[in-house]
Symmetry: C2
């Protein structure tokens, strides 16, 4: 089956869901090489649009995402990874999930995860992996 | 909080997850108007890239997605909708989830949902809503 990388200029979105808890953890983008590396290694790789390079999730922090199952949608233009996440969380802001904020109807947001599980080395950094674990909830 | 519609030419991906079962059902794209209509009506609206217009999920089939919670990711460039889906499924191919296929390492796919819950009027049609319910599993 041909994946529709052409719809987003060579990229396809990949949803990451925790296989055990069913929580949606993050969304990233894969190019063809990222998909090959993900399949070859069993750990999720993305293509970083901001850094313009292949990027293994957790490459510096060790918080990799072990793929337990890969699913493809009906249009072959989106992927769903059921994973076993290694480490306390995936978000560069220290939360378990990147979707840690609720968006209200008036456009306001509020944090719905109780507290960061770990601290980023630099909150100004765009690297999601530059973090140090300080504790588990 | 400003959503980053600029990263994908005015669109932002929206993941749809069943609030009750936690199953990821589909991924679509919203423009600013689709988000406003989703917030105003409480039902998920997308922007159809193929039809180049605003599109309420379920507008013709009645299989709408009632929003129970909206979440925003750390980079404000992806949305997660926790929904109550109305009807037997969301996929135009008749399945409960658009992610009804597993993608194996060798690139082959296999259907992991047992059987279509309903039949599309025309499988050749690109309209995800042109379907008729024939039964529930």
């Amino acid at each position: 089956m041909e994946l529709a990388f052409d719809k987003l200029g060579g990229l396809i979105p990949g949803i990451v869901q925790d296989q055990r808890t069913q929580e949606v953890l993050m969304l990233g983008y894969l190019n063809a090489e990222a998909l090959v590396q993900t399949q070859r290694t069993g750990e999720v790789h993305f293509f970083s649009r901001s850094r313009n390079r292949l990027w293994k999730k957790g490459e510096s922090s060790g918080h990799v995402l072990r793929v337990r199952e890969m699913r493809l949608d009906c249009d072959a233009d989106a992927l769903l990874f059921l994973v076993e996440p290694v480490g306390p969380g995936v978000c560069h802001e220290g939360y378990r999930s990147c979707f840690f904020r609720e968006l209200a109807e008036d456009g306001s947001t509020r944090v719905i995860e109780s507290a960061p599980l770990y601290q980023a080395k630099s909150m100004a950094s765009r690297g999601r992996d530059e973090s140090t674990q300080v504790g588990r909830s």
